[in-house]
Symmetry: D2
Subunit: 144 residues, 4 copies
Amino acid sequence: MDCSGPLNPEIVARLEDSFAAQGLMQHLGAEISTIRCGEVVLRMPFRPQLSQQHGFFHAGATTALADSAGGYAAFTLFDPGQEVLTTEFKLNLLNPARGQAVEARGRVIKSGRTLSVCQLDVWAEDGGTRSHVATGLQTLIRLG
Amino acid sequence: MDCSGPLNPEIVARLEDSFAAQGLMQHLGAEISTIRCGEVVLRMPFRPQLSQQHGFFHAGATTALADSAGGYAAFTLFDPGQEVLTTEFKLNLLNPARGQAVEARGRVIKSGRTLSVCQLDVWAEDGGTRSHVATGLQTLIRLG
Amino acid sequence: MDCSGPLNPEIVARLEDSFAAQGLMQHLGAEISTIRCGEVVLRMPFRPQLSQQHGFFHAGATTALADSAGGYAAFTLFDPGQEVLTTEFKLNLLNPARGQAVEARGRVIKSGRTLSVCQLDVWAEDGGTRSHVATGLQTLIRLG
Amino acid sequence: MDCSGPLNPEIVARLEDSFAAQGLMQHLGAEISTIRCGEVVLRMPFRPQLSQQHGFFHAGATTALADSAGGYAAFTLFDPGQEVLTTEFKLNLLNPARGQAVEARGRVIKSGRTLSVCQLDVWAEDGGTRSHVATGLQTLIRLG
């Protein structure tokens, strides 16, 4: 995993286009917060449309955010023209996802020729406090 | 796991109320398809708001559906007054989730005093064909 | 996944050779119980050398058995000359693995060009009773 | 998770006794390398009895080590008299586990009243190089 040079602007542009084309990310109100080599952070403010039955963020909403963050993190290390697909992921829910916003970070642990592995983490911001609400692992495949 | 008698109507009513209170399920257009002892099936028609960048269902949307299906499957075996929380889950994405609708089924494998384990499966319906798009495992904790 | 014809005897022979070459399987006292298209069952009698601190089978021993069962299940669907490697797996431990023997079954859910996904299950035999001690999912990659 | 004071010597003694009682750890030639608050490292030199078919460490052997490391890491935060049981784990295999020894580290991410979550990591030492061969997550339950 080579992060010595600057990110290829073509990769960043393709990533932003791809994110904008994810209907679900728009529907959930997610936005890109950070794009670095091997790392992407996405952010999603709370809305009642994202809740589970107790009014917290639904694990499905935070998982969607984490899945996209990891996919794009892997993508930052691809060559232009390559595509990324999630093959599997696992999340442990550590604390209730309660607050005004959540942030999901995908970080590449291993960028192989065929498979990439990312660590996924989600934090909730509630007033001034920030709590770690989920951690996980994700495998992705490189296509093209 | 005792499924010899009929489902307690109070459990069914509480399940339906809880589902209706999940803002995310409404926002994604999900609905309850089946409630059986230890098994719940949820259904979600395709809309562009549920898509990833290639126009298929986003894994986050199908995962949200699967997570809720498993949670409610575990819930059918609880006593009235008990609550369910997902502690972790893992999904393998088997095929592109393409089509007019997806169905997620949660099925209880083990209903313990504290922890329950569910198998999660998602199918996509595309024209007349039905494909298995995801399979997974989920651990849930019983509260109260 | 085509299981219409009989298993290629060359695949069976290579599988048996590979199993015999796994030092760990011999060290744990495991043996092949069944080889079918897309399904392999391995068996391991109890010995104190396989125990955890309460005298049951250590989850590491049952996991090793399950991992090999799944790997060989995927292998039954490969072409001669191809190799299999596990890329990830997840196991839920459902019940204490107590008894005279355990059996681990790997069953192919999806046999893709690059990746295969197997369901893993482990049962313990204790006197006349057989209990489901673990269930899991495994991703494997095809090489060569 | 309170690691402000020194480790309770009773916990350390019980951990060492428990490890010595795990027949599998002796059978695999594993030993305790580090015990800290919320973190345990186990070490296992290579022997042909630990191999898979290509002569590397079998994933089952490294998983057994990682599972025990995580269990004991959670245990360092328990009260005397409490027991630990793994409920599930997931490992991603990042690189071939080749070399003279492997080291598995379990580190507590969340120590809850009922459930603990650990991060599991395994490194292989091959000559002077050290490679990250596996990373995972584990859920454990506190009993008693």
